[in-house]
Symmetry: none
Subunit: 217 residues, 4 copies
DNA sequence: AATGAATGAGGGTTCATTCAT
DNA sequence: TATGAATGAACCCTCATTCAT
């Protein structure tokens, strides 16, 4: 069974770390608070309180508040995102790609759900990405990796079939991502209560398909 | 002569305000510092020093540090963006819309330049948008307004001509914006030294045109 | 009129500094507390309270607690001790040196009084000298300077008269200092209530005279 | 074979105590660290680490950090110093006292060597003596005791022979100690690399002999 | 007995904000 | 009006001490 939720992936990542239960609670609480109020406005006392732990315990494992943030971000880069990518790839390869439209529809639906399921976590990440170029760079590397595996062969196949425009895979990905984010980010930021996922998916898919499919000569 | 630079618009906005020269210097300095280091990491002493003003003076006009931020953000909403929108509209109406492709090309080129010219200011804004939903909402209202004026008639015309897909203007705008941001935001965040504006414009235009033009029956 | 009291010299040193009244109060309070409880056991809150000042004010002038200590020690080196040395020299030159015995008697009496009058200040200094070799080195330089001026001519003269042993002035000084400290330091550390200055002076003088005067062939 | 080194005496003192090996390691490590960085700047974690012991173990025997210091200081008072004194006395009695000059020369040479061999330990002690008057008082009692045994008879004999001035033994001792410390303490504090023991001994002996021997009528 | 994770009071320091001059 | 010294709450972090295992 696949995990579609960053929380679960984050838990799993924590589970296989050598941190004690309390240290994990610290990271957990930090994630919540950083998402809610931002890094700067979260105090170490807040963290300790929410984690039901003393302030001293917070600093047992992590030397500084910044290291807590790093400890949260690092698994995102090295674990959560690759893992999410892998599962995404797994689902992709599980089903035979019948057409470009089906492919786009799947991706859009999958990623929109992913985004909406993990609103809180994405918010922290986006905030940090803004003054942490390194983070974005590493995230870029994850995308590159995704673009190598089965995605590459699917795109190649679709291009060979003359269904998909002959652009670089990176460019195609950029368009897909920005279109999806065009729907997801506003929802994350304002928070919109009940987004109509079906409608969103339909709209994004329709636009992307039109933009990416090969026009017949 | 038109202003393409937020700085100039911001100056102009300040000029017609009833703030003293020192208060303007405070806002100016605050903008610089908030962009550079973020709101939280900027101290009122930093601001006073850069503005060549005493800390007391900073608090003469603004009751709190937060009010300084508001004072910067408010003109963005009420002045800078509408002004930018108006100029954008003015340029748009100045030239007769010959075709959807030309229209898209113009918008994309114009907005990409706008974005790249104002990287610093946009960074502050994006940062604030993340934990200030109200800001995004107001920004949305500005967009709505832009979508009423000449843009509306242009889009209507293009749709009547059968060139532009029959989607809502808001949706069309969303696709344009997200596609442009897909190129601009990475440049703002990492900072990429010399972006190839021509290539970016060509790619975004090509994709948007394909995605938005009406397929003949 | 001469100042025999480090407190007064310290005040005078403060008076001609550009520190505000509150900053001076901070240094004053720090001196008291460092003497009483030691540097480490004195908190910045203690200092603020005794100085009748907020903790923020303590840090207006001095960036760290250590800098407060430095600010106290530095004038000791550059002002208080040279000043004390100068006054000592002045008194020395004021009276014609009639004999080695009178010379020793005067020095011993003067320095013992100096030490007993400034017990508290000396205690801070001695404590700091222990883990601040630089301080001792600079103090050494002050002694060197004292050994140049009129003291030099007096010792030279006494040696030429065949009254004083033909040792280096530094060595002679070392013996004088250690003998005086042999009486003064125990009083400073335990604190002995009412030291018999007359008796102490007599004993130290008798011993030093015996040790330092030239035995006739 | 005699022990001239406080370390060895301290070891011996530990050996006959009922402390476990780990507790001894704690005291050992504490001594090292207190000497190096001072009591306040030494953390219990430092001690535990150097002693290769857990922090819990440190607190098994000693209720507080202060008790560790006490546990170190107490043997100095009750064991190390008396032991050192006894050995000093033993050596003294082993050789017949031929003259005042030989007596002084022996003491000076012996104590200067003692001081230079145990620089680190003396530094801790001196530091503690400064804000621990009780310690100095007890040290005084040790001196008193030394002044009772064979030293007393030697001094008596020298005084009867008309070689040694007729001052109280305490006073004579004070002069000897302060003269020796006048050479030893500066070496301990700055640390001077290679002190010329021969020269120091010669100088101190010469001065003390002149100061203490009986002038013929 | 030994461990070391956990505690929490308190330390030095910062900084938004106030106010006497 | 403008200043910047002064304030003090609150921050991040340390460390002596405790206690479950």
């Amino acid at each position: 069974m696949t995990l579609k939720n960053i929380d679960q992936l984050f838990q799993a990542s924590l589970a296989q770390s050598d941190l004690s239960a309390k240290q994990k609670a610290v990271l957990q609480a930090s994630l919540m608070l950083f998402a809610e109020k931002g890094f700067e406005r979260t105090t170490t006392r807040d963290i300790a309180t929410l984690a039901q732990v003393s302030e001293g315990t917070v600093y047992k494992q992590f030397k500084t508040k910044q290291q807590i943030l790093d400890a949260i971000l690092q698994p995102f880069i090295t674990q959560v995102f690759p893992q999410a990518a892998n599962e995404f790839i797994a689902e992709l390869t599980a089903r035979p790609v019948t057409s470009l439209h089906a492919f786009i529809q799947f991706i859009v639906y999958d990623r929109i759900n992913f985004g909406l399921t993990n609103q809180k976590q994405l918010k922290v990440l986006v905030q940090q990405l803004l003054d942490n170029g390194r983070l974005l760079a590493e995230l870029g590397r994850v995308f590159d990796k995704v673009l190598q595996g089965p995605v590459k062969s699917i795109l190649d196949q679709l291009q060979r079939q003359g269904e998909l425009v002959n652009w670089s895979h990176a460019r195609i990905f950029r368009h897909i991502i920005s279109t999806v984010l065009g729907y997801v980010l506003p929802i994350i930021i304002l928070p919109i209560a009940d987004p109509d996922v079906e409608k969103i998916t339909a709209e994004a898919t329709e636009f992307l398909y039109a933009g990416l499919h090969q026009k017949k000569a």
